[in-house]
């Protein structure tokens, strides 16, 4: 005991807070160390013990690495806190602003009858599911009560283009107010693109509106996933993509993929479809436990293990086609890479801690109620209204002082949650109390049974393994996704973690 105390006292370095994770994959560098700043290092198991016992050779290369990456410091020689604080502040910079993402649910009406629908919908002709002009005006007031200089105004549904007059009203009101406010505002419409018209495209061109659509793969998959009376959902969406591009430019439309259990059999076909349609990004998302997806779960859902297996196959295929010269990044992977390899946060609300719901996002529902995230208003459609923040007529200060925000913050700091607080992946992950409430009936949830945890653990460890073991080709592809530049435009020196 005395001996080890003396060694500790005499050692020239002290530990900084860090976490570790074993990857049982047979590699000699099988322990992942992660610092509070998000810096990381793979080390052999023996080195972890030596490090913690403070017996490292201070002249070794690994010592210098650990010092540079903020796992250790030398008292009296260097105070690491100011530079670590600057890095930490950058990673948490989203906390310094008010809500930046404002989602307007202008209608619940939709022409699709998707069984897995994550957002819930009403029949196309159903009255009483559209946002009123009065509620829309109040919501615009709320948007500008946020202190964020950069704002995204997103329109969702149902199918928001079925309530295009309301979208027009909102954007014109935002533009008028912004003459004085001078914020940086981006508009996004999440739509099937089935109801595009020249008038809509004229308006979109005037206000630089981006379109986000869903493309689930080739026609046989997309049409099976998204039934319409005319059985031509794929053809109409692809036609919409082409019309938007012809009028607004190639990058004015992006697409997301919803994966049913059938989709999991076709990773290559789904990716080939995105290549054929000229997209530069694909987002491979598992089904969410909300809306109609929950009630159809028995038929449509699959285990997270199945999804992770699919994702790994898809990633291998994506790497191979990118290496051959086609630029197509996987959206979630690019976000995770930003969290791992840059000093900044990706900004993605699901990968934030403290949580993104409410703090970074507000949802104005068609009926004038306000929610902290799209997922919480989806729970409403499942009969759960406990996550409502209030009415769109209340000032944002009141909405953000709601007991719901208190509850979400209590359960929404990953670094303080059971399981997460010890997890080496927590600097790159987020907290999602709403998903845990939906799946486990408890906003904290049990990490050992959490799909959110299983997904992010699975994808992050796969990505870390690729960063550690990947050949030059793989690393260059990942760097091209991170920098959003094609392989040919990357500098020749690749990254080595």
């Amino acid at each position: 005991m005395m001996g080890s105390a003396l060694i500790a006292k005499d050692a020239g370095y002290r530990l900084l807070p860090f976490r570790f994770l074993r990857l049982d994959d047979g590699n000699s560098n099988n322990v992942l160390l992660t610092a509070e700043t998000g810096e990381y290092l793979f080390v052999p198991e023996m080195l972890l013990n030596t490090l913690v016992r403070r017996e490292l050779d201070t002249h070794s290369a690994i010592y210098k690495d650990l010092l540079a990456r903020h796992f250790i410091y030398e008292p009296g020689r260097h105070n690491p806190i100011p530079e670590m604080a600057a890095q930490y502040r950058s990673r948490k910079s989203f906390l310094l602003e008010g809500p930046a993402l404002h989602i307007f649910v202008v209608t619940l009406r939709c022409n699709h009858t998707c069984q897995y629908c994550q957002v819930s919908r009403a029949p196309q002709s159903d009255a009483g599911h559209d946002m009123s002009a009065e509620h829309a005006s109040h919501a615009v007031e709320r948007v500008f009560e946020s202190s964020s200089q950069v704002l995204t105004v997103e329109f969702q549904g149902g199918e928001p283009l079925l309530a295009f007059d309301r979208i027009q009203q909102i954007i014109e009101a935002v533009e008028a107010r912004n003459e004085v406010e001078k914020r940086n505002i981006q508009y996004v419409v999440t739509t099937t693109l089935h109801h595009l018209s020249d008038a809509i495209l004229d308006f979109a061109e005037r206000y630089n509106i981006q379109f986000s659509t869903s493309l689930d793969g080739p026609a046989f998959l997309h049409n099976a996933n998204r039934p319409t009376p005319t059985k031509d959902a794929y053809e109409r969406t692809v036609d919409g993509i082409n019309r938007v591009r012809a009028r607004l430019g190639h990058d004015a439309v992006s697409a997301l993929t919803t994966l049913t259990s059938r989709s999991l059999e076709y990773p290559e076909a789904i990716i080939d479809e995105y290549v054929a349609q000229g997209f530069s990004s694909i987002s491979l998302r598992p089904l969410s436990p909300y809306g109609f997806a929950k009630t159809s779960a028995r038929r449509l859902e699959y285990s997270m293990g199945d999804f992770i297996g699919f994702y790994k196959k898809a990633m291998a295929y994506l790497i191979s086609i990118n290496a051959r010269g086609t630029f197509l990044s996987e959206g979630y992977c690019a976000l995770l890479l930003t969290n791992i390899l840059t000093p900044f946060s990706s900004g993605y609300v699901d990968l934030r801690s403290p949580l993104g719901a409410g703090i970074g996002t507000l949802v104005y529902n068609y009926d004038g109620d306000v929610y902290p995230s799209d997922e919480s208003r989806m729970l409403l459609e499942m009969g759960e209204d406990g996550l409502k923040l209030g009415s769109v007529k209340q000032p944002m200060k009141d909405l953000l002082n709601s007991p719901v925000i208190d509850l979400l913050l209590t359960c929404g700091v990953a670094e303080a949650l059971p399981g997460c607080s010890d997890c080496a992946l927590v600097p790159y992950c987020g907290a999602d109390p709403i998903e845990h409430f939906a799946r486990q009936g408890d906003p904290i949830g049990h990490r050992a049974f959490s799909s959110f945890c299983e997904k992010n653990m699975g994808l992050l460890t796969h990505l870390f393994t690729m960063l550690r073991d990947g050949d030059e080709k793989t690393l260059r592809v990942l760097m091209s996704w991170l920098s959003r530049r094609s392989l040919g435009d990357l500098p020749s020196a690749g990254y080595r973690g």
Binding site: L15, L16, F18, M84, Y88, L95, L96, H446, F449
Partner: protein
């Protein structure tokens, strides 16, 4: 085949906090009943059978190894936590000064 296993640890080597964290972390695979017993703590271990648990069930020997490794890992985490106590809070305070306004 079902099995049961009891591992007894000394509280001087593995605190109750460490043992509880092991039980939490391994819940998908192993069901662990933590029983303080004087200066010792008994871990009564069985494979997790409930829906939502992990599909792969370790053997008794594998479980023994997994639990010991997890105990040592969490003991090391506790040591790191103890030696860096206060630094994490200091870092967050310095980094996010002004964020509350």
């Amino acid at each position: 085949m079902e099995w049961n296993l009891t591992i007894t640890v000394n509280e001087q080597a593995y605190s109750l906090r460490v043992v509880q964290r092991v039980a939490y972390a391994m819940a998908a695979t192993l069901s662990i009943h933590v029983k303080p017993n004087g200066q010792n703590i008994d871990l009564e271990i069985a494979p997790t059978l409930i829906v939502g648990g992990n599909d792969s069930r370790p053997s008794r020997d594998q479980a023994h190894e997994l639990v010991l490794r997890s105990l040592n890992d969490f003991a090391m985490r506790e040591q790191i936590q103890s030696e860096t106590s206060g630094l994490r809070e200091l870092l967050v305070n310095v980094a996010l000064r002004g964020a509350e306004s």
